[in-house]
Amino acid sequence: MRLFLYLQIHFEITVVNVFMENSNSKKDSDELKETNQDRWLGIFLLLIGGGLFWRTFYFRTFDWDTLGMAFWPRVLLAILALCSVAHIIKGNIGNDVSEPIQKRGIILFFGAISYVFLLDIVGFYLLTPIAACFYSIWLRPFNKHTVITAFILAVGGTFVAYLIFELGMGVYMPRGIFE
């Protein structure tokens, strides 16, 4: 009983402390910058979550299963919605300032997605050296030496992958145009 009382009192004190800290920290300009990013992410997650929640109504249901396969995703989406709303309303989630998303990272990601879409059409052994070569050149200032080393690396790396996976493990990579 004493332990329970102690835990209860401690919990109440900490809740009050957290509330006080959050209200005090709103004054900090860095954190206000942070709030916007948390808020935008909260809105994004709420929209995505709403879409997924709507999708759960199209899951198949069975009489013999009271909960159904929509139960678990709905519980998760409800928690996600609660947290997202808290982020949107409350803000000031942390004291650390987030870093901006860099353009080069996003360009690389779109390059990677293009690679995935082309993999089945062009084939691993043709597309991978080209992609790896471009990637290697892209990481460094452009010159003749860069191109030569990038080419050697890309072809060598693909050959190593061929040795390990195709010859060693018997995994056949997508052949693409060589099919």
Binding site: H10, F11, T14, N17, Q37, D38, L41, L52, F59, R60, D65, T66, L67, M69, W72, P73, L76, L77, I79, L80, C83, S84, A86, H87, I93, G94, N95, D96, S98, P100, I101, Q102, R104, G105, L108, F109, A112, I113, Y115, V116, F124, T128, A132, Y135, S136, W138, L139, R140, P141, A150, A154, G157, V160, A161, I164, F165, M169, V171, M173, P174
Partner: protein, 496 residues
Amino acid sequence: MSFDYSIILSSLQNVLQLQILLFLTIGVIGGLLVGITPGLGPTLAVALLIPITYTMTPEVGLSLLIAVYVGGMSGGFVTAILIRMPGTPASMATLLDGFPMTQKGQAGKAIGNAIVANFAGTVISGVCLITFAPILASFALRFHFAEYTAVCIFALTTVAAITGSTPSRGIITAVLGMLAATVGLTPVDGLPRFSFGIPSMEGGIGLLPALIGLFAISQMLKDSNRQMSSSQHDIVAMGGILPKRKEIKRNLFNYFRSGLIGTWVGVMPAMGGGPAALISYAQARNASKAPEKFGKGAVEGVIASETANNATIGGGLIIALTLGIPGDPTSAVLLGGLMIHGLQPGPQLFINNPEVLYGIYFSLFFSSFIMMLVLFLSVRYLVKVVNIPKYYMQPILLILCVAGVYSLNNRIFDVGVMFAFGLMGYVLERFRYPLPPLVLGIVLGPLLEANFRKMLASEGSLLPLVQRPISLTFLVLAVVSLIWAHRLRKATMLKK
């Protein structure tokens, strides 16, 4: 359990034969290489070796398989510490502190401690395997849906410990992980969910593509933000490798606790090294006098994670050998290896073939010792990987990641998942959202859902969770763990 010393001695003599020691060394080296390579793991290596061991005697064949298992489980930490790419899901918790240590010029220290931790974990679980196998196996049999649900809830409380100062961000990423795990066929009904009519989506989101994406690809996206000239690349200092005696002494309890956690999690079917390492990491943080250092390069975190990760080997073997129930995929393949040699796992194995059983025990000990030796001898060369300029290293890594992830299921979809999780990891990290809870969600989400729904279907209520002693114990532990983590967070904030 009684010990027949003559059988023990003859098994020891068998394992000490030059031929078996040679096979153990080859197996460990092969396993380490497989563990280091993304996409390949101990399960694949053991499965590939089974046909080769068919012509060998059971002692030799099983020694080789055990050596590969130990090597494969241990190898994953090398890339996790050096380049933030977990070779296996079990080494995910290692990179939380291992990679920051590398960035601080303490790669040698991180790897040295991880090697000792791997050895300690295997030995602790091996001792448990020899002494408590029947007791632990009967304990594992008392786990039903309610107990599994409670264990999963307890494991999820580790989110509080690995989140840092912002719990709501940790909850969001954990929920995102659990939501990602709901894609594909449901574990209970076997029907597609969130597949949007795309056949590839029905196969679900694999753990390894997600893991490599979240940590390795996101790091590549981060590193691509600036062009690097040949004179610009960072040279990372290695520091000392051998852990100091004082350091080992200070962490003795950490080794012991993490070894027991790993063994216990290993005994429970379908849990595996990933959750074991994370639970152990969280407990090490809760017990630490300086919890604020975790996630920024605390050697205690590396020790806790690696000890628990390798201790699941012994735990998995306990339930596999005594009951014939595989605790993880590698144990399942290993059981296949036993059966190929005409050995039936289960209680009869202890009576009919004790020499094989002791052979397995000794192989486990010698493999872990050889693993430690091999890693200490090769670590100076392995660490040089960090100092290869990123513009040389990253294209090669990218090729290996793509090939490794594709080789898991021969699906291009998995490669897409890897890149998508890469972007997700990149954005979340930029916004200071922690990534480990997301992985924990992917691992524990399906287990929690399946057991929770089965419990409700069979018992009709939530009461078994508090009526059954084991599940109640885990729920109480979960609450205590949450309160403890909360107190630690408060203390850390006050220190700041």
